[in-house]
Symmetry: C2
Subunit: 342 residues, 2 copies
DNA sequence: GTGAAAGCGCTAACAA
DNA sequence: TTGTTAGCGCTTTCAC
């Protein structure tokens, strides 16, 4: 194994181009006060030497050109959609996206990942559906430009991008009720924390479901598990253990619907013949032929793009007032929902 | 928006604990030469002040306690399995995992992500099925401890963890041939680069399929697309456009099988009634009830755990000879494969 | 066992 | 427009 050669530094480039390190630094950052001649010289040297700035060193004085994205769950197919949107906006910039997976491991794990991102000098962070307490979010946002995605509730410290989950839940309930369903069950991601009950998308969806059911004069029927495939499977099993089965199940996320379908198939029930199933997020999974799941589209890619744009914006101007973007979902009807059996 | 308070530094801790910064640094790194008394004092101060080391500053002299994982595709459900394994090993260490998504965007994008990780002072990197040229991998491994996952071919610069893809492909072919299939098609991830043909798992799987078919006296029938849902969908469409349909399709990855099932359902064909379908990776998707896909299990979590362990090992001792771990796949038979129609 | 001091690679004042 | 210089927060000799 040959000795690893010393990394090229800004000093090497400066010497090679016969200019000062300041000049190189300026060229790197497109800063003011560099002649085209010097610019060209420096860029040539950078290319020839294969120089790349050391982010750690940059972190000590300026930016790292790194954006961190907290991803709660890599198995939920909705998140890649959001990340595509982030990538759309950042691909042609000097910024690099790094992902911090929290593996659905709760507040502690999530806080640790966010701290790690801050410690590593991220210029900004996008937090997807974070579960940490609100004051914690505010504290984070005071340290680093922050955009919170999916979580409701405005803040003067961070920008937010969220979909109207109340409306989304109503879309599903209206659709199912319109088909003639009276007993529509909902599987939600369990939540007891009062603040999260008011802010997390899962809680808002459940509340929206409850309100929409009542508007139709129907009784809500909620099973609490989690927004995972297992959560859907277990939730459906609970429903199937009842003496009287629902005629429709509204899963709070497509990934939950995956588990529901699994449980129903195992139980020998047909969809939508015996029970209708609807999801949320309109992920690629929902469009999948053999599944063809009715779902609520909340345009993940658009959400991610908006979040990234807001973040760059805030990195450029930390003082601007915070923005709250609220998007409207649409219903995508497929083959997993139909009129209840006669 | 209140002024963001200055970050606590090692100097603050040293002052608070009434010791030198050197002492604090030593405690942080569990280094030699600290009395239990000092240790306790320093740890108390760290806790009280809420101090967290600045990774950028650390990067300049020592480690950043960060491990980067290159993930080619966040929509492929196999990768979260690997990441779980990595997380298993790193959760209780001081190391933090950050993910670099390359979004299947080819060599350039991948090289950019890897460079970004190195620039950010990662202590080590795990590269999952990287497509960059081999010399590039060697160069990377010379700069930073590296473990390459999934890609075959030994190196003296990096460790490797790979599954026996030749054997895996044979498992599927043997199974299908055993059921009586004579016309078994394979959908592969297109590859022309000669080095990647010899090293990438997709190429080895295709070659293994070819060899196994010939061993059974059957004619190989390969369609080249990509290891994505779309790749599976398009591949199946190509097969369905033929005058003579295969009786079984071996998709090179579960995510490919997803697309295949979609195309078959759209075409009104039943699985396994009309056509058998098999996947690869045994992801959660394969186990899904309504799909119940026969697949090859390559124990992603175990792969990830092994990779992480090798990486920590190499970070501790850069001079040790490189290791090549090769794991053996197993077949998981489910309901998507059966005897061909009479 | 403990601490003083140098320096990692870069950026931002400031001078020229 | 260009260059000189002083740190950023940490780790690492090397004294004591």
């Amino acid at each position: 194994m040959q000795p690893q050669s010393r990394r090229i530094t800004i000093v090497d480039v400066a010497r090679h181009a016969q200019v000062s390190t300041t000049a190189v630094s300026k060229v790197l950052r497109n800063a003011y006060g560099t002649s085209p001649t010097m610019r060209a010289k420096v860029q040539a040297s950078i290319a020839e030497l294969g120089y790349r700035p050391h982010a750690g060193a940059r972190a000590m004085r300026g930016q790292t050109y790194t954006v961190g994205v907290l991803v709660p769950d890599l198995r939920n197919p909705f998140f890649p959609d959001i990340l595509d949107g982030v990538d759309d906006q950042l691909r042609d910039t000097d910024y690099q996206v790094l992902l911090g997976p929290s593996h659905c491991n709760g507040e502690r794990a999530e806080a640790r990942v966010i701290d790690a991102m801050i410690d590593r000098g991220m210029d900004g962070v996008v937090l997807i559906a974070p579960v940490v307490p609100r004051p914690h979010l505010e504290r984070i946002a005071r340290m680093v430009p922050t955009v919170v995605v999916g979580r409701h509730g405005r803040s003067t410290a961070y920008d937010t991008v969220a979909d109207d989950d109340t409306a989304g839940a109503a879309l599903i309930v209206d659709h199912l009720a319109g088909l003639g369903h009276r007993h529509i069950a909902h599987i939600e991601h369990h939540e007891t924390n009062p603040i999260r009950l008011a802010e997390m998308p899962n809680a808002i969806r459940a509340e929206g479901y409850r309100a929409a059911m009542q508007a139709h004069g129907l009784d809500p029927d909620i099973v609490s598990t989690s927004y995972t495939r297992d959560g859907g499977y277990l939730g459906a099993q609970q429903l199937l253990a009842r003496s009287r089965l629902p005629t429709a199940i509204f899963a709070g996320a497509d990934v939950v619907a995956m588990g529901v379908l699994e449980a129903l198939t195992e139980a020998g029930l047909s969809v939508p013949g015996d029970i209708s199933v609807a999801g949320y997020d309109n992920t690629a999974f929902a469009a999948l032929g053999p599944i063809s799941l009715t779902s609520v589209d909340q345009a993940g890619r658009h959400i991610g793009g908006t979040a990234a744009r807001l973040l760059l914006d805030r990195i450029a101007d930390r003082e601007r007032p915070t923005a709250q973007v609220k998007l409207s979902p649409t219903l995508v009807v497929r083959h997993s929902t139909a009129a209840p059996p006669a």
